[in-house]
Amino acid sequence: MSDFNVLTHNLIPEHHLMSEDEAQQMLSELNITRDQLPKIRKGDACIKVLERIHGPIEEGRIIRIVRKSDTAESFEVYRLVIKDVKR
């Protein structure tokens, strides 16, 4: 594996690991449960990069993604980490 960091690529939006507190706050603000969030695989290239920073990321953690938006300048989405595809 090369040590290229995909997050530095200009087509990849910012990915941040949310702390449990932040996650709880976001969930209560949106009045939703974790399972209602969009998902991201644990094997996703971005998660692998985040794991190099934060150490292992378990299933059930939430990733905050900040996208550039043509209509809203920037826009946040949240994704729930789920199990990797079986190989």
Binding site: Q36, R67, D70, T71, V77
Partner: protein, 926 residues
């Protein structure tokens, strides 16, 4: 709850039927090709055997004892004398023959390979793959196995299997009979089947070679008795008769030890009949025909295609209270209305619940009967049915109307004819967006077409060259309320596609407003009255008195229908985009200024009131609401039609007439260009043409030539244009945005120009030349598709041919593009159809999981956006600052081009393409 239901279907499995099962479910064996005896009774063990079900009323089924409609019908079977290939299975059969050993029948895979294949299959199962994944895996396994040259189990060298369409297999050139095929398939062991995607519990390969044929119940192929008393049999029965006849002859010949050649011929004939019994459009064999020459409709034909069982009977939906007829225009109708013919109104009904309040009215209406006379030349609604409290429907006739009228009491439901102001849904296919089906209010009127205001053409994409539309009458108060609030035409003036008006003036309406307002012409009192009749307008100002006569200006007339506090400033379509805009002093009268609801100056054209672009329309809808916008549009259409009738307007071929000296000038310019091209070609041949950087010499020549010829066409257009002024009707239409473009005009008056395929000059056709009229290798203008003539002067034969080549590309492009974008849209819709915008601004699916946290990321409804922007800053500024805002707009003009502007530009070019398509409208009648 359904009573007596004690069983429930857990699952359904489709599998290959075995000959055993065919025989087991068979109610009778069919052995004779005869159907009825001389007395008209069905022959036992014939195709109409009473064991197969009943079709004649009064008779009872010999299998289940039930009568017609109770007996579901029962299958029979035919034992085939020799096995026959099933056409629907040939691909599967080929795969099986290729991937198994010709000697021992084992799968051509080593143990390890087979294990690997089944492991991969299990993995697909774990990951929740569907049948498509399995099919892919099975195909890959079969492909791998069929490449083996020797059997890994017995070492037998394998031969190549080929398929002679439709049903003949060959192995290394030698023909395999169905019997041999079947024997080979029988040898394949059960455990070798799963890697090929076959479950041996439900499907043995040899079942794909038929030894018994199921005979469908008579209820599936009923015979019809004609008036003459003759029986006419179903196509399937005819086909089964053929099968039985040949089967019989084959059996006799085989048993009598006839020569091999004769037996083989009969066998092939049997194969033909069985094949066409399944699919009578199998490629490679002639379709079986009826005595009249009509091809038979056999099993596949019953299911396949538009008229097949699936699309026509299972997914096809039919509704009551609907009508379909040709459409035509009526500018006197409101955009909310639809004109319905009397004949349709008398068939379409609205249910009215009888209450003490309306009982007297309804009694009167029932007395009118089901086809009331016109009263004072006016349409009178009648009643078709009355539904009594016990649920009985009573048809109203002249004889019973009095009786029923008297017995009418609250609780009854009266189905009365359609009347003015009833709410209906109106639709034109293809229904591609929500504006394809809108709610209109009815106007019952004479003649036999549906009519509506021309402003509503763009959302339906309708024209009147024979288009038909559908109308549905709403049947409940809830439906009517919902339709009026959500689906009414006036609620759809703004399009969610681009945040502008999609309903607006088109064609003659734009010409009309142009004639009314351009350079503020004066109208006499009589003309003013003609224009303003039937228009609900503000009070007329004092007239201008000239030579003792009263006159009103066009601007004053147009102002009568504007809201009283409207304030706008914009450039009209006729604006030439001068380098520095002269604003108020524009001599083209293209600078539009509205202050306090008065049109101070400027021309109202497409940019003012047109659909897609109308700025006034946009502003009124946004700031004053849909009701006012509707009123404005109704008034604009009437006023525009009034103005165009008062002024008079026509166009003809002489609008493209230009003086002889202009024609000479154009010819000179074109000859010059052609001369220049031949000079370039000469330079190219001499090798003195200067090569452009990054291009080959050939490309350089092409680019230069295209440049010269393009310039020549433009020049011809300009010369022609100089003689086509704003006094010319065709030019008025092109410049005001009503119809056509200046390019169209210059191609008619000046020169058509270079024809191109894939962006290059024409080059294909003959060897080294386009047509035999030119020398091989001729690179000159005429030889490669330059059309010097205009549409009006007429094309030479070679030019005509080149033009057809270029035109064909356009047609192919649109055909390909529409089918591809239609497919893409269908896929998008099925992916997004059940998403819903929730109260909290999130977009969710049916499982209530979040798709988008904030709708569209910015929470903006594109319908209410200003061409995609959430806020129209310029509009807000001019509201607040008044005339000072003009200063700010000037600053705004220098502002960088933003994202939304780019999008808007894209949209505008797309629109132009859409109009282009209209010109090529060649699809049959409309």
């Amino acid at each position: 709850m359904m009573r007596g239901v004690s069983k429930r279907i857990g699952s359904i499995r489709f599998a290959t039927i075995s000959p055993d099962e065919i025989r087991r479910m068979s109610a009778t064996k069919v052995i004779t090709a005869d159907t009825y005896d001389d007395d008209g009774f069905p022959i036992d063990m014939g195709l109409m055997d009473p064991h197969l079900g009943v079709i004649e009323p009064g008779l009872r089924c010999k299998t289940c004892g039930n009568k017609v409609d109770e007996c579901p019908g029962h299958f029979g079977h035919i034992d085939l004398a020799m096995p026959v290939i099933h056409v629907g299975m040939v691909r599967e059969l080929k795969k099986l023959l290729e991937s198994t050993c010709r000697s021992c029948g084992r799968l051509l895979m080593t143990k390890e390979e087979a294990a690997e294949a089944s492991e991969a299959m299990d993995a697909v199962d774990d990951l929740g793959g569907d049948y498509i994944d399995y099919r892919l895996m099975a195909r890959a396994a079969a492909r791998g196995a069929s490449k083996k040259e020797f059997c890994p189990h017995c070492g037998q060298p394998q031969e190549k299997i080929t398929l002679d369409k439709p049903t003949t297999f060959r192995e290394g050139g030698h023909k395999l009979t169905p019997k041999e095929v079947r024997e080979r398939l029988e040898r394949i062991p059960d455990e070798d089947l799963p890697p090929l995607g076959i479950n041996p519990e439900t499907c043995r390969p040899e079942w794909m070679v038929l030894t018994a044929l199921a005979v469908p119940p008579v209820t599936v192929r009923p015979s019809i008795t004609l008036e003459s008393g003759d029986r006419s049999e179903d196509d399937l029965t005819h086909k089964m008769v053929d099968v039985l006849r040949i089967n019989q002859r084959l059996r006799e010949n085989r048993d009598a030890g006839a020569p091999q050649l004769i037996v083989e011929d009969l066998w092939e004939l049997l194969q033909y009949h069985v094949t066409t019994y399944f699919d009578n459009q199998t490629s490679g064999i002639p379709p079986a025909r009826h005595r009249s020459g009509r091809p038979l409709k056999t099993l596949v034909q019953r299911l396949k295609g538009k008229e097949g069982r699936f699309r026509s009977n299972l997914s096809g939906k039919r509704v009551n209270f609907s009508a379909r007829t040709v459409i035509s225009p009526d500018p006197t109708l409101s955009i909310n209305e639809v004109g319905v013919p009397f004949e349709a109104a008398r068939e379409l009904t609205v249910p009215v619940h009888v209450t003490p309040g309306n009982v007297e009215n309804l009694r009167q209406m029932i007395l009118n009967g089901n086809t009331p006379e016109f009263r004072d030349g006016k349409y009178v609604p009648g009643v078709n049915y009355v539904i009594r409290t016990d649920g009985r429907r009573v048809r109203i006739t002249d004889r019973n109307s009095e009786l029923i009228s008297e017995s009418l009491e609250p609780g009854y439901v009266v189905e009365r004819h359609l009347m003015d102001n009833d709410v209906v849904l109106f639709n034109r296919q293809p229904s591609l967006h929500r504006m394809s089906m809108m709610a209109h209010t009815v106007r019952v009127m004479p003649a036999k077409t549906f009519r509506f205001n021309l402003c509503v053409c763009p959302p339906y994409n309708a024209d009147f060259d024979g288009d038909e539309m559908n109308l549905h009458v709403l049947q409940s108060d809830e439906a009517r309320a919902e339709a009026l609030i959500l689906m009414r035409v006036q609620e759809h003036i703004m399009s969610p596609r681009f945040g502008g008006p999609i309903i607006g003036a088109i064609h003659d309406h734009i010409t009309g407003t142009y004639l009314l307002t351009h350079q503020n012409p004066l109208f006499t009192k009589q003309q003013v009255l003609d224009v303003l009749t039937n228009i609900n307008h503000r009070p007329l100002p004092e007239p201008h008195i000239i030579d003792g006569k009263e006159y009103w200006g066009g601007h004053e007339l147009f102002s009568l229908i504007l809201p009283e506090d409207l304030r706008m400033t914009f450039k009209a379509s006729i604006c030439q985009n001068c380098p520095t805009c002269k604003k108020e002093d524009c001599e083209l009268d293209a600078f539009v200024k509205v202050r306090h609801g008065i049109l101070v100056q400027g021309t109202i054209d497409e940019k003012g009131v047109g659909s897609f672009k109308g700025k006034i329309l946009d502003k009124i809808t946004r700031d004053y609401g849909s009701e006012k916008a509707r009123e404005f549009l109704d008034n604009v259409t009437k006023m525009a039609i009034g103005a165009i009738m008062v002024k008079g307007f026509t166009t003809g071929i002489d609008d493209e007439d230009i003086p002889a000296e202009a024609t000479a000038q154009i010819n000179d310019a074109l000859s010059d260009a052609i001369k220049k091209v031949s000079d370039l070609v000469a330079a190219y041949h001499e090798g003195i043409l200067e090569q452009m950087p990054g291009r080959t010499l050939d490309e350089t020549l092409e680019v230069e030539v295209m440049k010269v010829l393009g310039r020549a066409r433009d020049e011809a257009g300009q010369i022609a244009g100089r003689h086509l002024g704003m006094d010319n009707s065709a030019v008025i239409m092109a410049r005001s945005g009503a119809r056509g473009s200046m390019l169209n005009l210059s191609q008619m008056a000046g020169c058509i120009g270079q024809q191109a395929v894939r962006g290059e000059r024409l080059s294909r056709g003959y060897w080294n030349r386009t047509l035999p009229h030119f020398r091989k290798g001729d690179l000159g203008a005429e030889a490669k598709g330059f059309v010097k003539n205009s549409y009006k002067s007429g094309l030479t034969p070679t030019e005509f041919f080149f033009h057809a080549m270029g035109g064909r590309e356009g047609l192919v492009d649109t055909a390909v593009r529409t089918s591809r974008s239609g497919y893409m849209q269908r896929r998008l819709i099925s992916a997004l159809e059940d998403l819903k915008l929730k109260q909290d601004g999130t977009v969710r699916n049916t499982a209530d999981t979040i798709i988008q946290i904030h709708y569209g990321e910015d929470g903006i409804d594109p319908t209410r956006s200003v061409s995609g922007d959430a806020v129209d800053v310029d509009d807000v500024l001019s509201e607040v600052l008044g005339d000072e805002a003009d200063l700010l707009t000037r600053i705004g003009e220098t502002r960088q081009v933003g994202y939304a502007t780019v999008e808007k530009d894209l949209m505008e070019t797309m629109e132009e393409e859409e109009f282009e398509e209209l010109d090529y409208d060649m699809g049959g009648d409309d």
